[in-house]
Amino acid sequence: MEKKILFKKVIKITLASLILLLSSPLLPVHAAALTSITDTMTRLKASTVSNHTIKFVQLTGVAAGQKLKVTFPTGFVMGTVDYTDVDLAEGSTNNCTSAVFTDKVLAATPLAATWGAAVAGQVLTFTSGTDTITANKCVLIEVGLNATAGVGGDQQVTNPVAGNNLVMNLATTTAGDVNIDTGFLAVSIIANDQVTVSATVDPTFTFAISASTCALGTLTLVTVQTCSVTLTTTTNADGGYTTTVVGVVAGADLIHSNGSDDIDDATGVQVNASSEEFGIGTSDSGVDIVTESDCVGADNSAAADAQAITNTAQSVASNTVPVSAEATTACFAASAAAITTAGAYSATTTFISTGTF
């Protein structure tokens, strides 16, 4: 009989324990975990300012008068971040990647539909006035220069010294600061989050003159004689190059073999038949020397575009960017008058090509 009573007591205790055990999971949940929590920063370097883009899904929602808190890890310097430097937005869904976010109106303190946003110590607190955030929606918080809604942000949070596993806590709370939904994340602050990439490109320069002689042939009274050389430059000079031409004798470059007579320099920008003139044209444009686009065609014709070669350097070819085998035709032109002294004439001209590095 005594055993039976004891057995009954054990059964009662068992049943009571069972009821407690099975009913406890059905009690209301006081807090739920935030999910999909991220804080994407613009810099991870120690002691460096950074923007923060914080996202998370809250399960319970935020009712009127309730709060949303972000507690930055110890060491982060909040500086003078205020409500103008933060944004709060509610996503259209609980997918923080694809949700469309609608910004809340913020002020220093809550008023009606305007949320209050304030920093105290390490805690950034958003306080609802009458506005709400729907349950199971992604929430976006931006801190720093990325807070562009309303007054654009101009202050950023400064990273602490380097360290791992720096925990940021997030929570939605009641007006009385009792947690509703909570969550956390961790960030890693490192000594240097940047890689400096460097390279060197050595300068290059080549210059070639197609021939070191140029025969004008026999000058007549009815034609302009021409001959040409090709000037070719290759360079990776950032500012390109300039090729100049210069004569060795001032104002009298095509000289008779007697050493005293010469073919007069062209006085304008053309060498004309029956006039005693000598000059040079170029296939390039935008340089000191006049453009003679078809040196071959000028031969045996009555005129060629050319101008005097002086003992002062004049540009005959140029470019402002790196070039590869850029060729320019330098066209010599000469004509004789009836009184031009018979004989052999020659001139020496010098071409100089210079890179602008």
Binding site: I13, S17, D193, T196, A199, T200
Partner: protein, 225 residues
Amino acid sequence: MKNIFIKGIIITLVFIYVGIFRGVPVSFALMSSESYINWMDSLNFGGEETSFSTNYKLQDTLGEVGTGRISSTNYTGLIGFRQAEADPKMTFTISDTTVDFGTLSVSSVSSDSVTITTTTNAVDGYVTTIYETENLKTGAGSDIDDVADGTVTAGSEEYGIRTSGAAGQMNAADTSIITSPQTVALYSSWINGSAVTITFKAAISSLTSAGAYSHNVTLISTGRF
């Protein structure tokens, strides 16, 4: 009497066992007040924190059933003491913060690499992005063109990166670096020492301006908790 007491205990344990397996969802109610937060509680019968050697540390818990991570489109569950217990962890390292190509040549592709390594217990892993504030360029403003055809080729002025490693996201093509963050590494669960190598590549043509080129790229690793 002793036998009856034992029978009672056995019956209790059976009921507890049945209760655990009957599919009732366990709520991880966070108990908190103004002065404390109890992040989780767990019913188990043992475990310790002290197992370790030079290369590992083991934290074990005994007596839990059905632990691990579960998820669907609308939820993710972390079941068990160890799943819920861990503080969030995030470490990120860059093996070298200098990439020096030296003197570039028209006849070859120059390359150098860094390895980025992330360790995190974030439930959805991590993402690492890269961005630049300006192109690889000289002080005068000449730059090396970004690669646009997927391959940095000798003789062509091209610059870009390629990744390698299981979490690498640019493993298939040489890719330009731009001012907007692009994902170079991604892993969708917690991971210890997820290493991704980023190989920087540059090539020039005969028209590439002479000079000293440089720029900074920023790497940001973010845990997805």
